[in-house]
């Protein structure tokens, strides 16, 4: 017997959205978290803009002890801990008592890179024959699972505590992993999320691939243009998102607030075959993933009310829309509402799936569809599949019952999850 799984806590540390209430406000108003960074200009980047959460010293002090703050340079840990602890508190959960962990609570908190700045500092010390000066935290600030290890220790989780990594699919994949664990009865609560650190050493490789916009350095808020005819590449972002997943039984027993239900999900890979490659998704695989998620959720394509796409603001947006249309067998005015959170926060890489899942769940909770930014000029090939009214330019009042969220990553990997409104 499959357990029903619900969402009882949300946390986020996003560009222009540190904390769920700030993030909700930003999404409603359609404000931009993208800004010019002098650091990138000084290093001669083509794209000198990015999305970066503003973590003030007082926020840092609220989440980290003086000892934890000492030498803490891994921004992936900073963002992940803020989002993860926020979600845990939002769910009304406590840290485990000092002597014994909470055996029924676990963590899947993904990362692409976690602490590139710490890694860079370590390389400089090692090359200067000063390895002994690294201190005790270099390993945990640079190992991929540093974030789940950090959160696991703070919260005292005694179930599975791990980090997944599947490029820009990481956040959505991790959510599905946690969901499956609760559904199968192996855990009662799973903190799922993902984090992505900031800075030139994280984003440089993408700049070198010439897939970031270079013409918006003077006008950063207009740069991220998902679904637009003038989309010029994705704007690099960073941050973290987190959700507390919980068995319905456990949530009801605790009297927890329920944001939404997770109905099902699917992950797959296009194997870098067909039109898939290291950097481009195989359309057949994307459609199979969407269809598998819908089947797993025991709903139909026609039941989807709103889609939060991967939609990064590259030429691939058109392919994605076609894949949704063909997988759901819906087009024109019959196509669901669709939006991309990346117009606001940029592409937060490994963190994108979890930050955008938080946004998707907020739509179900608040009865809203958040507006798309910077696409008054919807791409004509997208309009061939979707009526313009289904791509809201501003936030609209609409209570979706079922929402789909998908993420795709380098390596030709896909993840799609289906959420359902939980009646109040």
């Amino acid at each position: 017997m499959k357990k029903r799984v619900v969402i009882t806590g949300l946390g986020v540390c996003a560009p222009k959205g540190v904390g769920v209430s700030d993030f909700l406000n930003t999404l409603k108003k359609g404000e931009s978290g993208i800004a010019f960074h002098q650091e990138l200009a000084a290093l001669g980047f083509s794209c000198q803009i990015a999305g970066k959460p503003e973590v003030t010293p007082s926020i840092l002090e609220a989440f980290f002890s003086p000892l934890q703050r000492k030498g803490l340079r891994a921004s992936g840990i900073v963002y992940g801990v803020i989002a993860g602890m926020d979600a845990w508190a939002d769910a009304g959960l406590e840290k485990a008592a000092k002597e014994e962990p909470d055996w029924d609570s676990g963590i899947v908190f993904g990362a692409g890179t976690l602490g590139v700045d710490t890694f860079r500092e370590a390389i400089h010390l090692i090359d200067a024959n000063k390895t002994r000066r690294l201190g005790s935290t270099t390993v945990i600030q640079t190992m991929a699972s540093g974030i789940s290890a950090y959160l696991g220790g703070i919260l005292g989780c005694g179930n599975q505590v791990t980090t997944n990594s599947s490029a820009c699919g990481t956040g959505t994949e991790g959510l599905i992993m946690g969901y499956e664990r609760i559904r199968s009865g192996m855990a009662s609560r799973m903190l799922v999320g993902s984090t992505s650190d900031s800075g030139p050493y994280v984003w440089g490789g993408f700049d070198a691939m010439r897939i970031l916009p270079s013409k918006y350095n003077d006008n950063p808020i207009l740069a991220s243009r998902p679904m637009s005819d003038s989309a010029a590449g994705f704007v690099p972002g960073s941050g973290a998102g987190a959700l507390v997943l919980e068995s319905l039984d456990s949530a009801l027993k605790r009297g927890a607030t329920i944001y939404a239900e997770v109905l099902g999900g699917a992950v797959n890979s296009g194997g870098q075959r067909g039109n898939g490659s290291m950097t481009a998704p195989n359309s057949t695989a994307v459609q199979r993933c969407i269809k598998a998620a819908i089947k797993d959720a025991e709903v139909q394509g026609r039941d989807i009310d709103v889609i939060n796409g991967h939609l990064t603001a590259t030429k691939k947006d058109v392919d994605e829309i076609r894949n949704w249309s063909e997988a759901l067998q819906r087009r024109g005015i019959d196509f669901p509402y669709i939006n991309s959170t990346k117009g606001i926060v940029g592409h937060c890489l490994a963190a994108s799936g979890s930050i955008e899942s938080v946004a998707t769940v907020l739509q179900l909770k608040e009865g809203l569809v958040f507006g798309n930014q910077n696409c008054p000029d919807i791409h004509p090939e997208i309009l061939a599949y979707v009526d313009a009214s289904k791509i809201p330019q501003q936030t609209i009042q609409y209570q979706p019952k079922i929402a789909a969220k998908a993420s795709f990553g380098f390596g030709d990997v896909n993840a799609c999850v289906i959420f359902k409104e939980y009646p109040k």
Binding site: L67, K70, S136
Partner: protein, 85 residues
């Protein structure tokens, strides 16, 4: 630097690494870093680095192995400063 001053400097370094339930007042000459002050053994590495910076000395791995208590640490610091002079 006088003896009391060296103790105060060391105490200021060590207090950062104390767990939440151990107070600064607990740091005495006889205190054992790990078994009494409950300092995570990984953090002893960081205490050594902070001591090196504060006293402008270099503490070798062998010295660190001898550093069980606050008194041990002060003795090693004294020796290093003496050798330096």
């Amino acid at each position: 630097m006088r003896k009391e001053e060296r103790f105060r400097t060391l105490k200021n370094i060590v207090k950062v690494y104390l767990p939440e339930d151990v107070s600064e007042e607990a740091i005495e000459a006889e205190s054992n870093f790990t078994s009494e002050l409950n300092i995570n053994s990984a953090n002893l590495v960081d205490i050594v680095l902070d001591v090196e910076d504060a006293f402008h000395i270099k503490i070798e791995n062998d010295d660190m192995d001898q550093m069980k208590t606050v008194r041990d640490a002060l003795y090693i610091i004294d020796q290093k400063l003496l050798n330096k002079a």
